[in-house]
Amino acid sequence: MIANYGYKDGSGDYFIAIDTDKCNGCKDCVVACPYHVLGVGPDENDPLSDEEVAFVTELERKKIKYTCAPCKPMKDRPPLPCMAACKQDAISHSW
């Protein structure tokens, strides 16, 4: 499942997409994110599955434009810590 967490508002699209088929629940991204945007737990959108997957925490879903901003400088943007940490290549950002 591709889980798109985030929102679209007047200023643009802000979504973090997590491919739960690739995600193995290793928590590397949870440790890598300096702002506690990500968590790992049961897949709330697939209630009949027992596997744990990464998600964007409930608290951050409506403000990732701001929470993620420090990792996204205008110039010379380094690789995002969450994406770099994910060996499964399961995380992507829309902006």
Binding site: M1, I2, A3, N4, Y7, K8, D9, G10, D13, F15, E44, N45, D46, P47, L48, K62, S94
Partner: protein, 289 residues
Amino acid sequence: MEQETEFWRWTESRWTNPNLNWKGKVITSGVDVGSVSSQAVILADGELYSYSNMRTGSDSPDSAMKAINWAMEETGLTLDDLTYTVGTGYGRVNVPFSQRAITEIACHARGANFIYGPTVRTVLDMGGQDCKAIHCDERGKVTNFLMNDKCAAGTGRGMEVFADLLGISINDVGDLSLQVEKEPQPVSSTCVVYAKSEATGLLREGWPKNKVLAAYCSAMAHRIMTLLERIGVEKDFAITGGIAKNKGVVIRLEKEVGMPIMKTDYDTQIAGALGAALFAKALVDKGRK
């Protein structure tokens, strides 16, 4: 002096399957406490037995109780007969008699799969306060989803604001908006609050109400299309939630998507609660209580 002032008030409904006797069967239920409406669906051995669809009050547990009691009315069922109940929607953790809460994304996909059949691949849920675009497989399992609940544009609440502004019952908004000779330019503001100001301006310019509604319905369809574009639309395409009953938005969206939108005789607002009740049945079958 009682005047009609609540133009946003949509028709509440309930239904019982006259050809089904619940006695001796496994009863599961789903309760969807949404931001605007609450539904309860009762299944007997996985078959649709009864449902209710009503306005959500200020108190979620109370709304859940009212919805389930209305669905059980005159059926002889009591809360004790419910083997398993799943709560969903905004108030899903506040359903006092439920055993589990499941997200409305999972429930809407499952419910749409039941209502529209296994060919549904894209489900658009246009609820009271948010909008969800979901892709699912032939079993109704979510494969891709996107939700927007940070903005009222493209939601039932936005439409209620317009019904109120123009003094037209929400049930008539869709049909009236289609009674225009030439489709007007859509309202340019995305935000409901600004769209309302813009509409007030148009009325002052002398636009008839149906033309203003046409401009708003078309703006809403366009807005939803930009959301759908992110995950794409695969056929078959179905809509759930209250806006699915608004022909003005559905017909315009059909044109934008370029694909027919599936039709149904079911109440499209019950999809979430129906999905929850189906999950309840699946969980009972799985022996996970």
